[in-house]
């Protein structure tokens, strides 16, 4: 419940050619909290996340990180600040083991050779810190893991680098009930350990189970960002589908505004 957001976006605009995808978007992310980012298909969730992660340059608006205005031109810039994104497809290599995957492209070296011992220790420590008990051996190939375990490895990979903000794109979308429960617990633990977590999800039960705040995008605009303890399920559904609910949301949502 900290007052100052670690990540603060204001007036973000983004167009692809003639198509404006984000319009004057404001978005705050707080450490120690899970912020759920919700919205219909095409509302701009993925684009917003890619702007935060430095994949798409923003056309206008301010990007503040820990109170400082920053320019993020590439995923490397975002990673250097401590912003990590776990995409839906996870980007894990099936033919590599868990440690190799966690350090893929950022391997630790000792002289000319890889420092396997250190990497193994760091990976084990990270998984232990997240109370991950579902993985038998960290030298297991990723191809032998279940969907939930893969998600766990992908999240652990994001946490490994002392990251401060972790963004999860639909982490439970393809999972069964038991594995969803594990991943949600992990998501909650990340925030309880002090990280700022952004959770993109379509599942309202997931959103209400773990989030502290809910940000609803509607047709490229931020309809509302509210505390989870202040809204009901139907209000959030209204924000997603019509951009407003009672006093909450956008002033004009009939599509007439530019």
């Amino acid at each position: 419940m900290t007052a100052t957001p670690i990540l603060q976006l204001r007036g973000i605009d983004k167009s692809f050619g003639p198509v404006q995808v984000l319009h004057d978007v404001a978005f705050d992310v707080h450490p120690g909290e899970v912020t759920a980012l919700v919205g219909d298909n095409g509302a701009g969730k993925s684009t917003l996340v890619k702007c935060i992660g430095g994949i798409h340059p923003i056309d206008g608006g301010t990007y503040r990180f820990e109170g400082e205005q920053v320019q993020v031109h590439s995923p490397r810039d975002a990673a250097a600040m401590g912003v990590e994104i776990v995409y839906q497809d996870l980007a894990l290599c099936d033919n590599l083991d868990i440690v190799q995957n966690m350090f893929l492209g950022r391997e630790k070296r000792r002289g000319l050779v890889l420092d396997d011992a250190t990497m193994e220790e760091m990976a084990a420590k990270t998984l232990e810190g997240l109370s991950v008990r579902t993985v038998k051996s960290i030298r297991q190939q990723v191809s032998s893991l279940s969907g939930g375990q893969r998600q766990t490895v992908a999240i652990a990979k994001a946490v490994l680098w002392n990251s401060k903000v972790v963004i999860l794109d639909e982490p439970t979308a393809a999972l069964g009930v038991a594995q969803t429960a594990q991943v949600l617990e992990l998501v909650r633990r990340l925030a309880d350990n002090g990280l700022a977590v952004v959770l993109i999800s379509h599942n309202m039960n997931d959103v209400f189970a773990v989030s502290d705040r809910i940000a609803a995008l509607y047709l490229g605009r931020m309809a509302a960002q509210v505390r989870t303890s202040d809204v009901t399920h139907s209000q959030v559904v209204e924000l997603i589908t019509s951009g407003r609910s009672g006093d909450l949301g956008l002033a004009h949502t009939n599509g007439a505004t530019a």
């Binding site: 419940m1 109370s131 069964g176 009930v177 038991a178 969803t180 429960a181 949600l184 617990e185 909650r188 309202m204 039960n205 997931d206 959103v207 209400f208 189970a209 989870t228 303890s229 202040d230 809204v231 009901t232 399920h233 139907s234």
Partner: protein
């Protein structure tokens, strides 16, 4: 009239407090202990030596500090040497464990039973058999310092009399006294309500660590509850407090509850209500049956979804009441309610947000239990450890063989 606590009482209190710190917090250096207890280092040294001399703690070098310089010794609980026995009289199984100081599982046994009427004598026999086996495998010179047991029912605090436990058809059953006699260890068996013990376990070692005000809801055959306020388990006058499952939420036309009343939370949101609303085979009960409903709902089964929706609604109403009355920081869902919560969180939260007072719900956190099936056993063990933590030397003097 006494002027204040004597030197001796203060020392006993300090010994207990120090032991509690390493029991709950694990190995820590004397400097950390001095800091946490607000005592000077020479006092801590004296206390540690005294506890070490009777074999409750040991000082050793930490494994790897990763820091330069001579590492300072850490004080470690003697988990292999000092242990308690912990029993859980469950719905589908009887479980027993030998748990070492520091909360380490040293041994665990269980047997499946049919979920119906059970003779207290038979239960006592099975548990005593487990106790015998586990104590036989323990090394020579180890020391059992307490026994705790959990029952899903109302238990009198003073003597472990089970006033009622409808799932096994017990009424005024002298379970605590009977098990004490049967074990014959010279230790009274401490008996507690399973959800209260679950609350204690989550408070000390689970999702509620560091949280002084929490409510724990435990689902299996019914809904049990445990309340921690100001770091203490709420028991009420005789120890029957915390029966959240029998909070009345729908008295007019509500469902009939096992206790005889109508519209208890357990009747509206318990396992039976969920399974009936989802139109499941009435003979299939237990955790697997509940999971099947949640999985069906996840796949889009409309009757399963509607059932979860209803149950979530009632749970939310129940929790909203608790939030208004107790203002907990954390509400923890355990047992089968863990899955039910994750499957109906939108309903539960919405109800809380519409019925609980804004100020009371502002900082409320909803969490799932972290200890899983072992939570109740851990809680019963903590109950068993409470004697030695209250006065280590006196308790040890009574139990040393």
């Amino acid at each position: 009239m006494k002027a204040g606590p004597s030197q001796e009482e203060i020392r006993r209190h300090n010994l207990g407090t120090l032991l509690r710190h390493v029991h709950i917090g694990g190995s820590m250096s004397r400097a950390v202990l001095a800091d946490r207890m607000g005592l000077n280092r020479s006092t801590i040294l004296g206390l540690v030596s005294e506890l070490a001399s009777v074999g409750l703690v040991r000082e050793e070098l930490p494994r790897d500090t990763g820091r330069a310089g001579r590492p300072s010794l850490v004080v470690r609980p003697e988990s292999d040497q000092v242990y308690v026995l912990s029993f859980d009289v469950g719905v589908e199984r009887l479980t027993a464990a030998r748990i070492g100081l520091g909360g380490v599982f040293l041994d665990r046994r269980e047997t499946r039973v049919r979920p119906d009427r059970r003779d207290a004598g038979e239960v006592t026999e099975v548990l005593a058999g487990f106790a015998r086996q586990m104590m036989d495998t323990a090394r020579h010179g180890t020391n059992c310092v307490g026994v705790g047991a959990a029952v899903r029912g109302t238990v009198r605090r003073t003597d472990g009399l089970v006033r009622s436990a409808s799932y096994i058809d017990w009424e005024d059953e002298e379970f605590g006294a009977g098990l004490t006699r049967r074990l014959d260890l010279g230790l009274p068996v401490a008996v507690g309500n399973e959800a209260s013990l679950g609350a204690l376990a989550e408070h000390l070692r689970g999702a509620g660590t560091g949280c002084q005000d929490l409510v724990y809801l435990h689902g299996d055959i019914g809904i049990g509850g445990g309340v921690i306020t100001g770091g203490q388990l709420l028991g009420g006058d005789c120890g029957y407090g915390g029966e959240i499952g029998h909070m009345v939420v729908n008295p007019r036309g509500g469902r009939r509850c096992g206790c005889g009343a109508r519209g208890c939370l357990e009747a509206e949101a318990g396992e039976r209500a969920l399974l009936e609303a989802a139109q499941r085979d009435p003979s299939a009960t237990g955790r697997e049956a509940v999971r099947a409903v949640i999985e069906a709902a996840d796949r889009g089964d409309i009757s399963a979804r509607a059932a979860l929706h209803d149950v979530g609604d009632w749970l939310g109403i129940g929790v909203a009441n608790l939030v208004n009355i107790l203002n907990p920081r954390t509400v923890i869902f355990g047992g089968t309610l863990r899955e039910v919560f994750l499957g109906s969180a939108a309903q539960i939260r919405s109800r809380i947000n519409s019925h609980a007072l804004a100020a009371s719900r502002e900082n409320l956190r909803l969490r799932v239990g972290e200890l899983g099936d072992n939570g109740v056993l851990i809680g019963a063990a903590e109950l068993a450890f409470s004697t030695i933590l209250a006065g280590p030397l006196e308790a040890l003097a009574r139990t040393t063989p």
